[in-house]
Each structure stands twice: as structure tokens, then as C-alpha cells.
């Protein structure tokens, strides 16, 4: 009774409102939404502005109050100093090498495992897939100490091997899970057609599934690249000499060595951020696709 009363009164009020001036209400809402959007966008962008602005300031300007938002003149030399203070080009090379190997490993082996889980009905599949999910939820830190001991025994410390070789074993539960979800959306009929033409299971995976899964593979590749590029604890534990350092660890060391040179720190941080932002703008739709895939099809 009471609920019908509420609905009645509200519906009448709504209709009354609509008769009066529907466009003005929605226009007000639009303006309100835009104001909120711009306010949040400013909050989100402020740190970026601060980063770039600080990276172009002189040592005097950086400690000025109130701060200058646009440094005049901009000190581009900061970037040169930051890049040459330590052999940053070596760090860049190492980071790119490790990240590329990780991408290759994930694209090849995650997809292989994902195909097995998605398309072949074998004994124990559910069990092994539940193991995939379990390792997905488990923190990698738990195995950090014993893994370090294994790699020490193997003589892999201070090489990039601990940061690359394990990835070739399935490429991580997350990627297997993501690609399996994608493979399941590809119509079975395509595989059947190839099977009738005498294609082996591996042939179906390699010649039918992989080409059809390019968007998902690119997504996985991008996230793998980012994870490797951003990783600190791995390089921190396994790499010892500056020749093997990555950008992440280089920047971390930088902070310790140049505590008060915020200008140089911000320049180095900008250099580390830049490739990520560029990658994002070139491959935006794959980012969004990847996040949506992980979030919704689970």
C-alpha cells in the first residue's frame, strides 16, 4: 500500500516536472557532471604537471615558494644530467631486453596452456585449472625467498635469467586465465573445419586460434611489458652490478644517491614514465579491453 503510494506520488512529480521544462533539468545535470569531471581531472593531472614542471626547474627554482608552475627558463640540461649521472642507457637497454623476453615468453607459452585449458577435454583439466586460479590469488612474495635460494644454487644471481626464464613456464596464471577466457569465445566450428581438413591440434592452435586472438595477445603483451618495466622487487633481489640494472632499480638507486636533487629525480622519473604513456596512447583500446576482460568474464 505504502509502496504504491510512493511510486504514485513520485511518478506524478516526475511527469509534472517533465511538463514544465525537461531540457533545463538535463542541461543542469550536464553542467553539474562536467564541473565534477573537470574537478577530478584537475586532481588527477596535478601530479603529472608537478612532475614535468619540477623536472625542468633549476636548483633554485625548485625550492621557491610559491612554486612557479611553468619554469622560466626550462632547464633541459636536467635531463642530460639525469641520464648521464648513472649509465641510464644501459638500464634502458636491460629493461627493454627483459621486458621483450617476458612478452615473447607470455605470448608463446601462456597461449599454449590457455588453449589446452580452453579447448581440449582431458582428464584432470578442472584440477589443474583450479591450481591456475589458486596461484593467481597467491602473493608472489611467499615464494620469493626460496626462489632466491634456487637461483643462487643455479648461479643465476646477477643475470637476467631469474627475471626471464620462469616466465617461459606458462607465463603466469593471470595470462593463462585471460587468454583461456578469450579462446572460449572463438567459435568451435572454425577448429572443427580445420580438423576435417586434417589439421593437428597444434596446427589449430597455431594457425587458427593465434591469428584470431591477436587483440587478446596484444593486450596480454602490453600488460606483460608494463609489469616487467615497473617491477622493482625482482631486479632488487636478483641484480647486483650496475651493468645488469633496470630502469626501475636505477631510479630507486638514484633516490638514495641524490636525495635533495628533486629536479634530477623528477627528470629521471619522467623518462621512466614517458614510454608507458606513449604506449598507452598508441594502444589505448587494448588496455581497456584487457581490464574489462579480467574484470567481467571471471
Amino acid at each position: 500500500m505504502s509502496s504504491s503510494d510512493i511510486s504514485l506520488s513520485e511518478s506524478t512529480s516526475v511527469s509534472a516536472f517533465e511538463e514544465q521544462a525537461p531540457p533545463s533539468k538535463s542541461r543542469w545535470m550536464h553542467w553539474f557532471t562536467y564541473i565534477l569531471l573537470i574537478a577530478v581531472a584537475a586532481l588527477m593531472l596535478f601530479p603529472f604537471l608537478w612532475l614535468v614542471s619540477s623536472s625542468l626547474k633549476s636548483q633554485v627554482q625548485i625550492f621557491a615558494y610559491p612554486p612557479e608552475w611553468i619554469p622560466n627558463p626550462p632547464i633541459w640540461q636536467n635531463y642530460v644530467d639525469a641520464m648521464t649521472f648513472r649509465p641510464f642507457h644501459i638500464y634502458l637497454r636491460n629493461s627493454i631486453a627483459i621486458a621483450s623476453l617476458n612478452v615473447i615468453a607470455v605470448v608463446l607459452t601462456s597461449s599454449l596452456c590457455a588453449y589446452g585449458f580452453a579447448r581440449i577435454r582431458f582428464w584432470g583439466r578442472e584440477f589443474w585449472f583450479s591450481i591456475v586460479i589458486a596461484t593467481l590469488l597467491l602473493p608472489s612474495i611467499v615464494t620469493l625467498v626460496p626462489q632466491f635460494i634456487i637461483f643462487t644454487r643455479l648461479g643465476w644471481i646477477d643475470t637476467i635469467l631469474p627475471l626471464t626464464v620462469p616466465i617461459f613456464f606458462g607465463g603466469g596464471a593471470f595470462n593463462i586465465f585471460l587468454l583461456r577466457q578469450f579462446f572460449r569465445t572463438i567459435p568451435e566450428e572454425l577448429a572443427d573445419a580445420a580438423r576435417i581438413d586434417g589439421c593437428s591440434e597444434f596446427g589449430i592452435y597455431w594457425r587458427v586460434m593465434m591469428p584470431l586472438s591477436k587483440p587478446a595477445l596484444i593486450t596480454v603483451a602490453i600488460f606483460t611489458f608494463l609489469a616487467s618495466w615497473n617491477d622493482l622487487i625482482g631486479p632488487l633481489v636478483y641484480l647486483r652490478t650496475p651493468d645488469t640494472y633496470t630502469v626501475a632499480i636505477g631510479l630507486a638507486q638514484f633516490r638514495g644517491a641524490l636525495t635533495t636533487r628533486w629536479d634530477l629525480q623528477m627528470a629521471a622519473a619522467t623518462v621512466m614514465v614517458l614510454p608507458v604513456v606513449v604506449l598507452f596512447f598508441f594502444a589505448q583500446r587494448y588496455f581497456i579491453k584487457g581490464i574489462v576482460m579480467t574484470g567481467l568474464k571471471g
Binding site: R121, I141, P146, I149
Partner: protein
């Protein structure tokens, strides 16, 4: 003539023989295991064996140099009288309990704000998402500078509004809140997941509710939230797991301080293992973290998981 006839005769006999040796399902099993063999090998090499080594380490003392020494339950006993462990647990739990719900609330709100077709909305989506892909190390360097007491952006803004100078990273009371604020900058990932979820809710539900006279609040309460509950649940689990593993911020910005206020569990494990070279105790604390996460996941699944509404159960 006879030879070809023989060949013809043996051929059909040979085939069923082969098939008897390997049935279709057996062949499928072999192919299946071949395909997932990288994962199985990886699981054994980088997960199961390390887990066994960790188990071995919990009853040993080892500094990597001399031979491991059996110490029985000393490491486990030490969990209870280690003065730093409660501090590490407190920092990690406080961080998680505040940062995860706050992050969920904000990312949900932002997703609602972005869920429309206004002109230019794509630009806002990009801007809101961008901070979440910034490398943690770069982000840490940047926020350490933002929270600088004398010249940092945060205090510049607070002072311009007439507020006091907050000793963000110098005070044990402010360091953790500073790191929580920093974590809120990168809620973009869960925000996009929420946004995709919101866009997946069919318009018919809202239209039907409007006909029934539901207002904005009722639509949120009775359509959006129930329909979004699986997504909220997913983000909650991911948020918990991520925040329990927070490391870079504590390591780079505050180095666990001041007075251990930001000594997160993973940072504590890292220090115990690689600075104090106490492998046995580090492995023990790792196990503790493992059990805490398992326990928490269980609780979340048990008490929140069954409140989740699934439109197509069993899918």
C-alpha cells in the same frame, strides 16, 4: 597381386589395433597435458619446490653463507616475541582496511560519473585512468616530492588554503595516510572494471524502474548495486591481495619509517631475508602472510561472496 591384397588386409586390421592402444580420450589426455605442460613444469619448479624449501627453512636458521642449522620451532616462536612483527601487521592491516574500501568507493563513484555519453567523455576516461599505469617506482619518486614538508605540492596547496604545514613523511601519524592518499591516485584500473560493469547493465531495468516510479537513489540501491555486486566483489578481492603486497611505496618513500609506521609486511620480509640474511625467519613470515591471505580470502568469500547476485548462476 597377393602382396597388395595382403597390404589391404593388414591395413584395416592395423588401424583398430592402434585405436585400441590409444583411444580418443587417451589421445586427448596426452595432447591436453602436452599443451599445459609449461604450466605444470613451472608450477613444480617455481612454486611447489619453493614452497617445500620454504617449509624446510621455517625450522632452520640460515644466513646463506654457512650451513643451515636446525632450530626446531624457534622461528615460529619468534613470531610471537618479535617486536617488529606486530608493527608490520599493524601497518599492513591499517593500510588495507583504509585504502581498499576508500579506493573502491572512489573508483565506483568515478565510474558512475564517467558512465554517460556526454561529448568529450573519452578524454575524461583517459585522464582518470592514466595515473594507474604509471610505474610504481616513478610514482614513488613523484609522491615523495609531493609530500615534501617544505616545498611539496601537497603542503603548498594546504598552505595556500590557510592550513598548517603537515609533516607528511616525517611523522609516524602522517606517513601512512600519505601513502594511502597516494594509492588513491591510481584507482583507474578498478574504475574501468566498474565502468564496464555499469555499461553492461541493460537499460530496460532502469526504464522499468522509472515506470514504477523509482528515483535516482532507488535505482542505485535496487538495480545498480545488485547488478554490480560480482564486479564489486572482484575488485574487493583484487584490492585486498594487492594492498597486502604493497612494497615499493614503503621501500622507496619512507623506508619503513618513521619509527616503523610504514613497515609493511612484504618490506619486513624483504629486509629480514636480504638485509639481515635471516632466511629461515623470512620464510616463516612469508608463510604467515600466506595464511593471512588465505584466511582473509576465505572470510571474504564466505561472508561477502554469498551476497553477490549472479544473473545467470552456474555460468
Amino acid at each position: 597381386m597377393t602382396t597388395t591384397a595382403e597390404v589391404r588386409n593388414t591395413d584395416p586390421r592395423a588401424q583398430p589395433l592402434l585405436k585400441r592402444r590409444l583411444t580418443l580420450s587417451q589421445r586427448r589426455n596426452i595432447t591436453g597435458y602436452l599443451f599445459i605442460s609449461p604450466f605444470i613444469l613451472g608450477f613444480l619448479l617455481w612454486f611447489l619446490i619453493p614452497a617445500l624449501i620454504a617449509l624446510y627453512l621455517t625450522v632452520h636458521r640460515w644466513n646463506l653463507i654457512s650451513a643451515p642449522q636446525f632450530v626446531g620451532l624457534d622461528n615460529i616462536e619468534h613470531l610471537f616475541n618479535d617486536p617488529l612483527l606486530p608493527q608490520a601487521l599493524k601497518a599492513t592491516f591499517t593500510y588495507t582496511i583504509v585504502a581498499v574500501p576508500l579506493g573502491l568507493l572512489i573508483s565506483f563513484g568515478l565510474a558512475m560519473l564517467l558512465n554517460n555519453q556526454l561529448p568529450g567523455i573519452g578524454i575524461f576516461r583517459t585522464i582518470f585512468y592514466l595515473p594507474s599505469i604509471i610505474p610504481a617506482v616513478a610514482s614513488a619518486a613523484l609522491w615523495a616530492w609531493i609530500f615534501n614538508t617544505e616545498f611539496g605540492l601537497m603542503n603548498v596547496l594546504i598552505r595556500s588554503l590557510g592550513g598548517p604545514k603537515v609533516p607528511w613523511l616525517q611523522s609516524p601519524d602522517w606517513a601512512l595516510p600519505a601513502l594511502i592518499i597516494m594509492s588513491l591516485w591510481s584507482v583507474g584500473g578498478s574504475m574501468i572494471i566498474f565502468l564496464a560493469g555499469l555499461q553492461g547493465i541493460p537499460d530496460i531495468y532502469y526504464e522499468a524502474a522509472e515506470i514504477d516510479g523509482a528515483g535516482r537513489w532507488k535505482k542505485l540501491r535496487h538495480i545498480t548495486l545488485p547488478m554490480m555486486s560480482p564486479v564489486i566483489f572482484f575488485n574487493l578481492i583484487i584490492g585486498f591481495i594487492n594492498s597486502f603486497q604493497v612494497f615499493v611505496a614503503g621501500y622507496l618513500i619512507t623506508d619503513g619509517g618513521p619509527t616503523n609506521a610504514t613497515l609493511f609486511l612484504v618490506l619486513y620480509i624483504y629486509r629480514t631475508a636480504f638485509r639481515s640474511l635471516n632466511m629461515g625467519y623470512a620464510a616463516t613470515v612469508s608463510w604467515l602472510l600466506f595464511f593471512i591471505l588465505m584466511g582473509l580470502s576465505f572470510l571474504v568469500f564466505r561472508y561477502i561472496g554469498n551476497r553477490v547476485y549472479y544473473e545467470n548462476p552456474g555460468e
